[in-house]
């Protein structure tokens, strides 16, 4: 089947019920998206399908109707998105494992709501858990991105 990931078309030979996460990691080799719990409860595997957040560990690849964006499509260490820049500025990641998912959720939030309140952030980000407890910095980085988007 055909799958568009980060603007590139891929032909993948997999069962339709394979979770999108495994196609991304094992078939296409994009390992930036992480496995956390396997039941869409932790958010580590968050990617976008047409800009909307999707938990790829529980989303069958056969049901993907749109363009997939992973963390690798958001930016690289050389060319970062505003969200990624704010994440570094606020020294958000500790162990880093959940951060791909956090940034995907934050990016989706800011696309649909460019100036979120703390409450908006709580609602949009409550499904992305971080055991290091980087939440205060996640909030701060999202607010900072919103501000820099306004100024841009």
């Amino acid at each position: 089947m055909k799958l568009n990931v980060n603007g590139k078309d891929h032909d993948v030979d997999v069962e339709a019920d394979m979770p999108l996460l495994w196609v991304l990691r094992d078939e296409i080799g994009l390992t930036g998206t992480k496995f956390g719990c396997g039941i869409a409860q932790c958010g580590a595997c968050t990617v976008h399908v047409d800009g909307q957040s999707v938990r790829s560990c529980s989303h069958p690849v056969g049901q993907v109707n749109g363009k997939v964006t992973t963390i690798e499509g958001i930016g690289s260490p050389d060319v970062m998105s505003k969200v990624q820049e704010a994440w570094i500025e606020h020294q958000t990641p500790q162990c880093g494992y959940c951060q791909s998912g956090q940034i995907m959720s934050a990016t989706a939030l800011l696309t649909f709501n460019p100036d979120p309140t703390d409450e908006d952030i709580d609602r949009a980000m409550a499904g992305n858990i971080c055991r290091c407890g980087a939440y205060p910095r996640i909030r701060a980085a999202i607010h900072a991105t919103a501000k820099s988007m306004k100024e841009a």
Binding site: C37, A44, S100, M125
Partner: protein, 759 residues
């Protein structure tokens, strides 16, 4: 360079998905995948095990049991009571019984469910107090007595006795346990493992495969969280993957599913306390007696040192002249509990905080006043129950600072006024202190090694025995090297932890990572600097002591040369530009039989103030504001240290409020996924969070006078629990002590409210 908030060395990789964790490494051709077959009985002899269906399952290459282990079937860190695979006897639901290897991860997992095992059931002990009653322990009980507690208790004008339960906690590292083992030539094995203790993994794998340690190389680039859960308990997975790789001579990866991980591995120890305390009319403690019973689980693992640390932290910040502390490591038919940030320290300290809270309400005083009059003195009343003198006490000034900065007294009055007019919603406030001992409680663990390479182009590589789990260890160690050699941090790179580089390392645990490995790296860098200084003097004259390494240059009053140029010249002069470094923490001694000595090089301090709002009809609550003030000494990297403080506070809050472990009556862990086990999320954090590092310098010769910061701030979470208890107490106008156990779930809060006799 000290006190510079450089970003985490992996920050750009973390945010772009390019940071490689063990499961992200490109796999070698022919890699196979393993899954664990688990016991379904809490305690039984295996009568028979039919694995035919497992073997016949699609994609299966091999199914291995205990008899396929060439060496020792054990991976226990201290006492050898931890079989890698159960051999006839199973002791908890989730225990590994066999391992299946298949062509794909899903094939292995599907096959693992197909075993037919016939159990001859034995009686199972599932609760710590039942185990104590049956005298079922994993190690002999321990007791520390000072003074005449019995006599002083009997003569105290006021007494308070009772019980308290504090629950355990799942580590819930977002990256689950994983090991990937690649067989190499001549019976050698390369183990990529998410572990806090590569050396122990090396030993465990070598024992299991009957090899010398020099045949096993364990490498850890980074972990997606450890929190203690990957100190000893990564061993079973490293061993299982290695046993499979050895058997098949193919690379084997064992990555745990979340539920399996939670079913198999141990957690923070829950504690049951039975206390008796005597105090005068001012609230000064005259004597304290406590019995702590902890759930060790089916094996010893690290339960003895955990219980020891609990014993050594029952005092927290308070002088206890006459005290009797007993601890029991109860053997239960459940997961073998293990390290978790704080390692028994939080469990020891919360008990005395509970007692202080009780005293305050019995005497009708502010708990803060009771805390203050019981604090360790600076020159007297400053010896711990285990005999160590507290020499670096800053708890008085630290408390004074947060008392003022949080407006404690004004808010205290406002909250009491609010509660008088609000019948359903009640507010609570609490200020809790912490004192936490730094060093491994086992003296010989307090050693570390490092290697520093200066290459001819001036770039620098540093390797040390510590592991990076998000705490910023590699960043801090690189900062130390960059400081010693006066070069930009960007030119210093920390490499993955690797047992073939620095040998015989200790676990990255007990908060000691930077203290130990930073000092070892400093030692290595200083040796190189000394050699460069000698060359500088040879070339330009002057005294070694006048030479300054800064801004990528080396200079004295009259001459300056770039670091790179000096390095080039040193190479041509055949001067060794790399060095090893070593460090051992001074002044430590510990007698494990008498539980006395100086187990800790120094103490870290902190305090927090939390304000909560509870709904007395539903038990729901919200943290409104939290103020944290923490002593990280002369912080090497304040941004990283404050991240540790914030994260530890949130984790401590989770332990004492939302995180609840439940077992079924048959002993099966029922909370084995994030759907049933609730760790804090962003919406659990207060809107108003004020975090500050206390302005301090370590009194002792620690690395750049900084202090360890990994575990101590977990105790800052205490204030949330005691603020909830304060809010509950308001229901009976603060005249009764609510019987609130941890975690303070809405159910526990409602039950505590119901237990109050309404005025």
């Amino acid at each position: 360079m000290s006190r510079k908030s450089h970003p985490h060395e992996s920050a750009a990789l973390h945010v772009s998905g390019e940071a490689s964790y063990a499961d992200d490494l490109r796999e070698a051709a022919g890699t196979l995948y393993a899954a664990v077959g688990m016991s379904e009985s809490a305690h039984a002899n295996i009568r028979s095990m039919d694995l035919a269906a497992v073997k016949a399952s699609a994609g299966v290459v091999a199914v291995l049991t205990a008899k396929d282990i060439p060496g020792i079937n054990d991976c226990g860190p201290i006492i050898k009571d931890d079989p890698i695979l159960a051999d006839g006897l199973v002791q908890y639901i989730g225990q590994a019984v066999f391992v299946v290897v298949a062509e794909s991860y899903m094939q292995a997992r599907r096959a693992a469910t197909k075993a037919v095992i016939d159990y001859d059931e034995l009686p199972a002990v599932l609760k710590p107090l039942d185990a104590k009653a049956a005298e079922s322990f994993v190690a002999p009980p321990m007791q520390l007595v000072r003074g005449s507690p019995q006599e002083k208790l009997a003569n105290s004008p006021n007494r308070n006795s009772g019980t308290l339960s504090v629950g355990g906690q799942e580590q819930f590292y977002l990256e689950g346990q994983i090991s990937y083992v690649i067989p190499k030539e001549d019976n050698q094995f390369h183990v990529y493992c998410s572990t806090q203790h590569p050396t122990e993994m090396q030993h465990a794998v070598a024992h299991a495969l009957k090899l010398y340690f020099n045949q096993v190389l364990v490498e850890t680039r980074r972990m997606g969280g450890g929190f203690g859960g990957k100190e000893s308990q990564s061993a079973i997975f490293a061993c299982l993957a290695a046993i499979c790789a050895n058997h098949l001579n193919r690379p084997v990866k064992l990555r745990l599913d979340r539920d399996d991980d939670m079913m198999i591995t141990g957690k923070r120890h829950c504690f049951e306390y039975d206390y008796d305390i005597g105090f005068d009319d001012d609230g000064k403690i005259l004597a304290a007696k406590i019995e702590m019973v902890t759930r060790a689980g089916y094996s010893a693992d690290l339960s003895v040192p955990v219980a020891t640390r609990a014993v050594c932290h029952f005092d927290n910040a308070y002088y206890l002249s006459d005290v009797d502390i007993a601890a029991f490591c109860a053997k239960t038919n459940t997961q073998s509990n293990t390290a978790f940030r704080g390692f028994g320290g939080p469990q020891g300290a919360i008990a005395i905080e509970y007692l202080i809270d009780n005293i305050a309400r019995i005497l009708g005083k502010d708990p803060l006043d009771i805390r203050k009059i019981n604090y360790y003195g600076k020159t007297s009343r400053n010896t711990t129950p285990y005999g160590q003198t507290v020499e670096d006490n800053v708890i008085h000034e630290l408390t004074a600072e947060i008392e003022a900065s949080s407006d404690y007294h004004q808010r205290h009055s406002e909250i009491q006024a609010f509660n008088k007019t609000s019948p359903i919603l009640k507010k609570g406030l609490a200020l809790t202190p912490l004192k936490f001992g730094i060093s491994f409680n086992v003296v010989h663990f307090n050693q570390a090694g490092a290697l520093v390479h200066v290459y001819v182009d001036g770039s620098i590589l540093v390797n040390h025995g510590g592991t990076e789990m998000g705490q910023g260890l590699n960043t801090k160690v690189a900062q130390v090297v960059s400081h010693v050699l006066g070069v930009d941090l960007g030119i210093v790179r920390a490499t993955p932890t690797d047992t073939s580089k620095v040998a015989n390392t200790s676990a990255t645990a007990a908060s000691t990572g930077t203290d130990l490995n930073g000092k070892a790296a400093e030692n290595a860098a200083l040796k190189i600097r000394k050699r460069l200084c000698d060359l500088f003097v040879e070339r330009f004259g002057g005294e070694v002591d006048d030479i300054l390494f800064a801004d990528n240059n080396v200079r004295n009053g009259s001459h300056e040369i770039s670091f790179n140029e000096l390095v080039e010249q040193a190479y041509l002069e055949r001067i060794q530009l790399w060095s090893d470094g070593f460090y051992k923490t001074p002044e430590l001694n510990w007698n494990k039989d008498t539980l006395t000595g100086r187990p800790f090089y120094y103490y870290a301090y902190g305090a927090s103030v939390s304000e909560v709002l509870i709904d007395t009809l539903t038990g729901e609550w919200k943290l409104l504001r939290a103020d944290l003030l923490h002593d990280a000494g002369n912080s090497i990297n304040p941004a990283i240290d404050m991240g540790q403080v914030e994260g530890a506070f949130i984790q401590g809050m989770g332990w004492l409020t939302t995180e609840e472990l439940k077992w079924t009556p048959k002993g099966k862990l029922a909370t084995h996924a994030p759907s049933t086990y609730k760790i804090p999320a962003v919406n659990d954090c207060p809107d108003d969070l004020r975090v500050k590092l206390f302005d301090n310098k370590s009194k002792f010769d620690t690395i750049m006078r900084s202090k360890a910061v990994g575990e101590p701030p977990l105790l800052l979470g205490f204030s949330v629990f005691f603020a909830i208890r304060d809010a509950i107490a308001s229901v009976a106008d603060y005249t009764q002590n609510p019987e609130l156990n941890a975690p303070a779930t809405p159910e526990a809060i409602l039950s505590a409210i119901t237990g109050l006799q309404q005025p």
